[in-house]
């Protein structure tokens, strides 16, 4: 029995070794799996500004004289997240500029903002973010970002309320940078590229040429073929993702605060789960014509709804609730939570559980529908 076991894995690892070598000899494959996501990274990274900067052009209109408000305006002007247009002083001007899309939003501090209400020991107030219909997305995003920033501002202002400043606060603030969202989304995009578009292009081709058929006359089992593909894809995926991280860190000043070990393990399991979708589609399809429409139906909604190109928090809530259960969503969320918020596995159990559940479901389907020809 033991030698049978050894033989089975010898088969798997020989396939992994040779197929991985083959990949690195193939310039087209390298381009699509490694350079293609990098191009997206540069495009989206530049749009969202590097180093966690989010280019929100805003005006700040303050009716308040409180020290809190002054401090807030100063912080806002220094902030990397906000580009404050200091020429704008009245709400009327701000509205005109917003209509011309020169401003993304206007932050309005009402008169009582930052005043200490009677009977309270700390200042309070509600700040308003005004935005036009055209700029609804940035408006919503900015609101979310400001909410995150407020904690930090509060801490600076009244340290006596929170005498122990926890490092976590800082991370929480960083997690809301647009680039962090973009980067996690692009990783998701890269994983889809490798895990789904890889097999659905390769398998029908292998079937057409009769290569899988020839393999099926050998004692090679489907699980051996799947596992060798999985390991190979995980290796190639890690290389591609390592390159993306290197670029994100050096060019776009991404700060990885999470544990690298956990990140790698998480990414490997994500690749394996998403690859299952590719194996199911490619393994089932007899030819390219069969697989293309089905792949599009599955991949494109998932790509957009899971936050690949724009963050999910920009979606209406009901849609967020649905898209939360798509296979790619926990991947993108998990990568972001580990990378930029420094969370550990224990904190992201919902994401891990969802990935685990999808892995089981997807591979049961993949094994059932696989055809050698």
């Amino acid at each position: 029995m033991k030698s049978d076991f050894k033989k089975s894995w010898f088969t798997v690892f020989t396939f992994v070794r040779i197929n991985t070598k083959r990949f690195f000899r193939d310039r087209t494959a390298i381009f699509f799996t490694i350079l293609f996501p990098l191009i997206f990274l540069f495009v989206f990274g530049s749009i969202n500004g590097g180093g966690g900067d989010v280019s929100f052009n805003v005006a700040v209109i303050s009716d308040s004289q409180s020290s809190f408000s002054k401090e807030f305006i100063k912080t806002a002007q220094e902030s990397k997240v906000l580009k404050v247009d200091q020429e704008v002083t009245s709400l009327e001007e701000a509205k005109q500029k917003m209509n011309r899309s020169e401003l993304d939003a206007t932050i309005v501090l009402p008169k009582e903002f930052g005043e200490t209400a009677t009977g309270k020991t700390y200042p309070s107030g509600e700040l308003k973010v005004l935005y036009t219909q055209n700029n609804a997305q940035s408006g919503i995003a900015l609101t979310a970002i400001l909410e995150g920033q407020f904690k930090g501002i509060n801490d600076k202002l009244v340290p006596s309320v929170t005498p122990f400043t926890v490092a976590g606060e800082q991370l929480n603030e960083r997690s809301l940078s647009a680039f962090d969202y973009t980067f996690a989304g692009l990783l998701g995009f890269a994983i889809i590229g490798m895990g789904i578009f890889g097999p659905i292009n390769v398998f029908p081709e292998l079937k057409k040429m009769g290569i899988l058929r020839r393999l099926s006359t050998t004692p090679l089992k489907v699980w051996q073929y799947f596992v060798s593909t999985m390991i190979g894809q995980a290796i190639i995926g890690l290389v591609s993702i390592a390159v993306m991280f290197a670029v994100a860190i050096t060019v776009f000043h991404l700060e990885v605060v999470g544990n690298w070990g956990e990140l790698i393990v998480f990414i490997v399991f994500s690749i394996i789960m998403i690859l299952g979708i590719g194996l199911a589609l490619g393994g089932w399809a007899k030819n390219e014509r069969q697989v293309a429409p089905l792949a599009n139906i599955i991949v494109f909604p998932m790509m957009f709804l899971s936050g690949t190109f724009f963050p999910r928090f920009l979606m209406p809530e009901w849609l967020q609730n649905i898209s939360a259960f798509l296979p790619l969503t926990p991947v993108i969320d998990g990568v972001r939570l580990i990378t930029t918020e420094g969370l550990h596995f224990i904190d992201i159990l919902p994401q891990i559980g969802l990935i685990g559940a999808w892995t089981v479901v997807i591979y049961i389907i993949a094994f059932k529908v696989f055809r050698w020809e």
């Binding site: 049978d4 033989k7 089975s8 010898f10 088969t11 020989t14 396939f15 040779i18 070598k21 083959r22 000899r25 193939d26 292998l206 040429m209 009769g210 290569i211 058929r213 020839r214 393999l215 099926s216 006359t217 050998t218 004692p219 090679l220």
Partner: protein, 254 residues
């Protein structure tokens, strides 16, 4: 000694077409057995059922005493299969192709020896996409033998090859037989069947219409009073071709 291959009343139906209609034959150890017939006669379907590639509708196939339908996984260890059009994944070196096929059987082999067997050792480090049609056929043959099978199936192995490559392949098939491996092949070429096969089965419409040695089949035809319309030639055009261009293999000339 018992037969290496025993086919009994084998049947296969596709829709309303009876592709294989109750055929029976046996193949001895180290015998080259040819299945001949026009397109659509059921040759390939028969081979595919024996190779575990198609479910068997009726009847049985036993190879070395093992039932193909009941123990397909065991059968795979004792058969070697040469497909009609051999294809390999590109960007793979010849050595790696052999390594992978051996690994599929859980084995590690002397790769160069298997390349030498088919005169491909100087191509060892080439990628498969740079091989000519004949070289691909030879590589495919050697990959089908990496695990030391008892029965070797070839589906129209010489289709599309030039006369030199065909002759070379015949020699290879002879060498395979010399190792005691039973060879079962289909072909469209009568000269090939006559030169190579110990016995042939002629199939038509899913049935075997004749089964015997090539010599006996010819004698039987002559005994029925058959005469060729033309004078029997002492040489064929192919003999002329080989005489003019030699027997040497023309590898990589494509």
């Amino acid at each position: 000694m018992a037969h290496m291959v025993e086919v009994k009343n084998l049947k296969k139906r596709y829709g309303d077409k009876q592709a294989v209609d109750g055929i029976s034959f046996t193949v001895k150890k180290g015998e080259i057995f040819g299945i001949l017939g026009p397109n659509g006669a059921g040759k390939t379907t028969t081979l595919e059922m024996m190779e575990t590639l198609r479910p068997i509708d009726g009847g049985s196939v036993k190879i070395d005493g093992i039932d193909v339908a009941k123990n397909p996984q065991q059968i795979k260890y004792i058969i070697g299969v040469q497909p009609q059009t051999p294809a390999f994944q590109d960007k793979t070196r010849l050595t790696e192709v052999i390594e992978m096929f051996a690994a599929a059987y859980g084995e590690k082999v002397d790769v160069m020896q298997f390349l030498r067997d088919v005169d491909l050792e100087d191509k060892a480090k080439s990628y498969v996409e740079n091989l000519s049609g004949g070289q691909k056929q030879r590589l495919s043959i050697t990959t089908a033998l990496v695990h030391g099978p008892k029965v070797f199936f070839l589906d129209e192995p010489t289709t599309g090859l030039d006369p030199q490559a065909r002759r070379h392949l015949w020699d290879l098939i002879e060498k395979v037989r010399e190792k005691g491996i039973s060879v079962i092949m289909t072909t469209h070429y009568m000269d090939e069947a006559e030169i190579l096969c110990d016995r042939i089965a002629v199939m038509d419409n899913g049935k075997i219409v004749a089964i015997d040695t090539p010599r006996n089949l010819i004698d039987q035809l002559l005994a029925r009073g058959f005469k060729k319309k033309h004078l029997v030639q002492q040489a064929s055009l192919e003999d002329v071709f080989i005489d003019l261009t030699g027997k040497g293999l023309r590898d990589g000339s494509e």
